[in-house]
Amino acid sequence: MTPRLRAAIAAGVLGAGLGFGGCGSTWRPPIFLAQDFSDGRIAPIAILPPVDARIDTSIEVELDEQLRGDAVKVLERRGYPAVLSAAGADAGTVTLDELASADAARIRALGPPGARWVMILGLVDVSTALTFGSTGNAEVAGFLFDTERGVLLWRDKGVAQVGQGGLLGMALVGAMDEAAIQTAVGHLLASLPIQAVPPTPAAGAPPR
């Protein structure tokens, strides 16, 4: 059984998953949201390679697949077209602390040239525990920048606690980390205001 399949089963058992955090949950205020966030349409968002900000790296994580892959799906459900993007000049060296306090010059240098809206996700922590059942906890952080203006638009964190008691839960211990990360990404992006998708002109309609 592949890790993704295990995680999918775990997500099904736990009632967790992208749908809950990314689409069905009600909006909650993020840690930071720029006042002029909704002034214009934000699209497309370039998602840069994620930051592994963990102290405890004992759990192997496919960071790119788990954070960025899930984020694209959730963002699109919330009305934000998103693309995976190559890193900018400071790939692999930027930290979440630096992102949280980045000045305009630093923000403008993020991401590849031409990408205006840049999102960076980071895994802060993930852990699992095997008891009479098993549990998983994860904490992720996210930033959305407008590199043209050099400003932070949105910052938040997503926290997830998942777990299942009994023998079933014990059997799922290997998938708890992935289920927790997946749920945390959903919770994280649930604080992005839902963006209306612009109406597409009907076929045959005269151009305005």
């Binding site: 405890d56 790296t57 306090s101 525990a129 549990t135 606690q161 839960g169």
Partner: protein
């Protein structure tokens, strides 16, 4: 030990007893030994007896895990936690043979302006981030003692939701609370980070907890061979 928190959805007395057993086991499984960065060297490795170290007052932040809302420090013994952190930081500097200036007792001395100027920057400095606003304080420090080094330390305790047990679905969760300790040595006046380390503890500790003391030892002693193990 821990602040009393609601256990969530337990209702039935007998199921509650089973749940309590599960929860105790679950929470017990999460209060593991602290973790530090694998390659971290001890703080003393970058100091010499010729060094002068300005030990800033540690910053202790107790916040809610979900949204970083600050919580009342008194409830979590923030002062005692900070005091232990301060003692450990000072001890690490003394162990290197360096001249140690403790900002907690530097009132009225030539070091006081530097301590005051850098106090507000202690948190980012401890994380190895040297903000532009720290430039003045570092410059001020180097006028008192050229090549002086600042030792900054930080404790961020993130208090998470309590562990839960749902007797109907069988779902359980464990307490995700953590305490992150960070420390860094920053050289004046350039603001170069000479050393930094973090230690993670999967609980909100009390000052006299063995695990907290072990975290402090790991933080300043490092995990590499030759540390204070």
């Amino acid at each position: 030990m821990h602040p009393v928190r609601s256990a969530g959805v337990m209702r039935h007395p007998r199921r509650g007893a089973v749940a309590a057993l599960v929860l105790v086991t679950a929470v017990g499984g999460c209060t593991a030994q602290p973790t530090t960065r694998a390659a971290a060297a001890p703080a003393r490795a970058v100091l010499t007896p010729a060094s002068t170290v300005l030990v800033l007052r540690p910053v202790v932040r107790i916040e809610r895990l979900n949204d970083e809302k600050p919580l009342t420090g008194v409830e979590y013994g923030a002062e005692a936690l900070g005091s232990s952190l301060s003692t450990a930081a000072r001890g690490a500097a003394i162990a290197s043979g360096a001249t140690v200036i403790d900002c907690a007792t530097a009132t009225g001395s030539a070091w006081e302006p530097s301590c005051a100027a850098l106090a507000a920057q202690a948190a980012p400095l401890a994380r190895g981030v040297v903000p532009t606003a720290a430039g003045g304080g570092l410059a001020q420090l180097s006028t008192v003692q050229a090549d002086a080094v600042v030792l900054a330390s930080l404790l961020v305790a993130k208090v998470g939701p309590a562990a839960t047990y749902n007797s109907f679905s069988g779902q359980i969760t464990s307490d995700p609370s953590t305490a992150l300790l960070s420390a860094a040595l920053v050289g004046a006046p350039a603001g170069r980070v000479l050393w930094r380390n973090d230690a993670l503890l999967r609980t909100v500790p009390e000052a006299n907890d063995t695990a907290y003391q072990e975290s402090l030892r790991l933080l300043f002693g490092g995990a590499a061979p030759g540390g204070d193990r």
